[in-house]
Every structure is written in C-alpha cells, then in structure tokens.
C-alpha cells in the first residue's frame, strides 16, 4: 500500500513535470489551443493521484497497526481483525464520526452507540487519542494502551534498545490493564489491578522520588501488587490503580521543591475525575514519599477522595488540614519509627537559611503524622525505638521487609473500610 501511494505521487509529479515544470497543472504555453480541453482533465487526474495517495497512506497506517499485533493461529485475533477491517474501509463512518468529536465531544455516548467490534476498531485505530481519554469504557482504554505499548515495543526493536523492548514485552502480558501509557521522556503509566467497572473500593497509589517508567517493573509494580493483594484478601470487590501520569522528581534535591507536585496535581485530579466512579464507591488516595506531596496538592486542586493516606511523607504541602479544603475526606498518615523522612525539614528551613527561597515553591508544609485531624496508622514498627534511623525503612511499607506485611494490611483495611489499627493502639499493645 505504501508503494502504491508512492507510485501515485510519482505519477502526479510526472504529469506536472510534463506540463512544463510548474507545480501548477496546465498545458505548456507552447501547446496548441485545440488541446486546451485536456487541461481540466489533467488537473483532476493530478488531484485524484494526490488524494488517493493520502487515503491509501491512512489505510496503510491502520494496516501497519494490525501488523504489530500479528496473527495467532490458536489465539484470539479479534483486535487484529478489527484493525484489518478498519484498514479496508469497514469502519470509515465510525472513524470519521470519532474524528469529528474533537476534544470536547461526548465520547461516552459515542462509544455507547457502537457495536463491540466497531468500538474496538476505533479504539485501536485511534489509540493515541483513546488510551488516556476520560469517558471511554475502561476495556477500550486498556485495548488502546496495549496498542500504544505495541508501538513502543516495535520502535524499541527498530532502534536496538533491548532493555526497553524487554520492558514493553512484559507490559504486553495479557493480564495488564493500562489506563495510561506514554513512553516519551520519563514515561507515564497508570495500571489497574481488579475489575474497575464493578469495584466497590478503589484506591489510587502515587509513588515517590526516582520512580519512572524505566524502573516501574522493578519497583512500583511490586507495590501495586502488594497493596492489591492485601486489599482483595479482605474484600474481593476492590480495584487498585498505580498512577504515574506526570514526571516525579529524579533526585532528593529536586524533591525539596513542590514544582513537580504542583504540575502533577491537576493531572491526577483530572485522571481521578475521568474515572467517573459511582458516588457509592469508596475511594482512597495513597501517596508514598514525594507521591504524598503530589496527592496533597491534588486534593488542594479539587480531588476529594473518601480517604487520603500519606505514607512516609515529607508533607502534603499544607501546614494544617484546613488548607486541603476537603472536610469530607478522612485523613491518615503512616510512618515507620526509623524512617529518615522524619528528619527532612521543609526546604525553606534547610536552604532558605543561605538562599532566600519563596515558600510557595519550596518545602512541603507540616508533617502529616503530627497534624491535628490526621489519624496515624500503625506501620508495624512501633516496637522500634523512636530515635532509630533505618536506611531501608523509607521503602519498607509494601512488602520486602519485616514490617511490610503489617503496613500493607493496615492500608488495605482503610481501602476496604475495615477496622484499621492506629499507631496508638499498636503502641498500647506492646
């Protein structure tokens, strides 16, 4: 198809050249007047060649998307067949209607009016516009983002980036459900565990400094699995989402400033709102380390979950809970006794001593653990001395440590609305 399009373009150029070297089609000025009636025909032919080439290229692009999927003689070929039909013109009307929707169109109503086959074809053929779009049914967003991962995988192979190709191969595992995927820069991803469409409890987890798409499968993915495993053990009607929809600071120095949190806040709020969860669904927003700063800024920006939990937090970016402007949101904080984050002062205290730093961009406010109106949760380390500093404690909340199971289960209790254990209760039980 690419070759045919090229030949048509060449033919159009050749006709133009023969007309006298001008890009404007017409008879050469040396032509006899009786040939003038050919001029309009030639112009039409050149236009037809150009428009046909463009149309064929569009269809070839869709067919190339189908090629990325490949044909599985023993498996499900629904996605590939949907794209092949789209490439052959079978869904031209639906694709044109989608393109006409624009950014503000009612995409939920649009997809609701399509058959499952039509909807899948549009989601795949317009994957970059559908993958992250609010209002699109979750299953179609998963399909679209899977297609975006396929594209990234093909590109990684083309440029010989084996590490990236391996990462994307793992992200193509059939049990993955992605609501967001973008491999550019530090990358963006939002992965879901559980059935988001029917869940009665939904939690969203935001990881902290130094996390990115590059190390997602070696770090945050494990947190997602631990949290989801603990929560579904208590209540099966639970879905868990890990969100990295905006770049996180990649160094401790950068994490002293709230610029990233400020920029991420509206993205997280819009992502949450875009899920359009029923009001009956219990929602919990959890941030670990700098991720908690992101969640605090998002709540200030208008995201109002039922529960907000700060784990190992340098602060929500507020000095009192009233600054969150979320009186209906129940607030929690968790921190190991030995977590070094307790030593982190607000940035304006640390560097403002030497360099005046506006407190609007530096530091993250008061420690949520000590903030009135915030319930401190047991983390499993209450028996440790308060003066202890453990270099590993900051990341020991989600498995992989002695206290990880206790911390993860206590977070899960909040997520599903079960009776959680407070720090005071755990201290009293020692």
């Amino acid at each position: 198809m690419w070759l045919l399009a090229s030949r048509l373009e060449e033919a159009a150029q050749e006709i133009t050249r023969l007309q006298g070297g001008s890009v404007t089609v017409g008879l050469p000025i040396t032509a006899t007047p009786e040939l003038a009636h050919y001029e309009a025909h030639l112009r039409n032919m050149v236009e037809w060649c150009h428009s046909s080439a463009a149309e064929i290229r569009k269809r070839a692009a869709v067919a190339a998307q189908a090629d990325l999927i490949g044909w599985d003689p023993a498996g499900d070929n629904t996605a590939r067949e949907a794209l092949m039909t789209a490439a052959a013109g079978g869904f031209d009307e639906q694709l044109a209607a989608f393109d006409a929707l624009g950014e503000d169109g009612d995409v939920a109503a649009y997809f609701a009016a399509l058959t499952p086959g039509q909807a899948l074809a549009v989601a795949l053929a317009r994957a970059s516009q559908v993958g992250a779009r609010a209002g699109v049914p979750f299953e179609l967003r998963y399909a679209a983002n899977r297609q975006l991962v396929r594209q990234a995988h093909a590109e990684a192979i083309r440029v010989g980036d084996k590490a990236a190709a391996d990462r994307y191969t793992r992200l193509l595992n059939p049990d993955r459900q992605l609501l967001l995927f973008d491999p550019r820069g530090l990358g963006k991803i939002a992965e879901v565990k559980g059935d988001l469409a029917t869940a009665k409890n939904v939690s969203i987890f935001v990881p902290g400094t130094e996390n990115s798409l590059l190390n997602y499968l070696r770090g945050s993915e494990g947190t997602l699995s631990t949290l989801h495993g603990a929560a579904t053990g208590i209540s099966a009607d639970t879905a868990t989402i890990l969100w990295m929809g905006s770049p996180l600071p990649q160094s401790v120095g950068a994490a002293m400033f709230d610029l990233r949190a400020d920029r991420s806040a509206p993205e997280l709020r819009d992502f949450f709102d875009g899920l359009r969860l029923s009001p009956e669904v219990r929602t919990t927003l959890i941030g670990h380390s700098y991720g908690s700063t992101v969640t605090g800024h998002a709540v200030k920006a208008g995201l109002h979950p039922d529960n907000l939990i700060a784990v190992a937090s340098p602060g929500w970016g507020v000095t009192s809970t009233s600054e969150l402007h979320a009186p209906e949101t129940k607030l929690f904080a968790m921190r190991h006794q030995g977590d070094y984050i307790k030593l982190v002062p607000p940035a304006e205290d640390a560097i403002g001593f030497f360099i005046p730093v506006p407190d609007t961009i530096a530091g993250h406010g008061e420690d949520p653990v000590f903030m009135p109106g915030v319930e401190r949760l047991s983390s499993g380390s209450e028996s440790h001395p308060f003066y202890e500093i453990d270099a590993d404690a900051h990341s020991d909340y989600f498995g992989g440590s002695d206290a990880g199971r206790i911390a993860g289960l206590n977070l899960a209790r909040v997520i599903v609305g079960d009776d959680y254990e407070t720090y005071e209760e755990a201290k009293a039980a020692l």
Binding site: I406, D419, E421
Partner: protein, 99 residues
C-alpha cells in the same frame, strides 16, 4: 480459593513468593485462634495479635524466611490465610514456591 504469585523484592534483588487461601470456616474466630496457636508452637514470632477483635480476628507472624497472616471473616464464614517468603537468593525450584 488459592492464589499463588510472586512477592515483591526491592529492585529485583532475589526472589520471593506468596500464596493466599480463602476457605470456608464454620467458626472463623476459633479457626484464627487455632491457627495462631499452631504458629506459636512452630516457633514463629507473633507480630500482631488481634484474635479477640470484635469483627476481624487476625494474627500476623513471621519466621526467618516467611511472613504469614490469618484473617477471620465471621460475617462471611471464611478465613483468609496468606503468606510470603523473604527475598531469597538464587534459583527457587517451582515446586517449592507454594509449599
């Protein structure tokens, strides 16, 4: 219902495995107490003991290479028993992963 799987090891250092069971129990509270007692006898360290909790009796224990918990659901007539290994170096035979 049995749910085996991998357990997270930070930055991929070593391998760890997990296993969960949800099973019917005539008296979930008594089951939690009995399992906790068994684990104590096995020499496991009790990290959290909420066997007397009004609605959610549960116990969390750990050993040198394993962490486990048992949770009772009196309202559902079930217990959930779940555990994970520590992060282990080297190859772990598949048959050992959910023993």
């Amino acid at each position: 219902m049995r749910t085996p799987g991998k357990w997270w090891c930070e930055l991929g250092e070593g391998q760890a495995f997990q296993l969960g069971f949800t099973a019917p129990a005539r008296d979930p509270r008594a089951t939690v107490v009995a399992v906790a007692e068994l684990w104590r006898r096995e020499g496991l360290l009790v990290q959290m003991d909420r066997t007397q909790h009004a609605t959610r009796p549960e116990v969390i224990v750990r050993g040198r290479l394993i962490e486990m918990s048992v949770h009772g659901f009196p309202e559902r007539g079930t217990v959930w028993i779940a555990g994970n290994t520590a992060c282990l170096d080297g190859e772990v035979p598949p048959a050992w992963r959910d023993v």
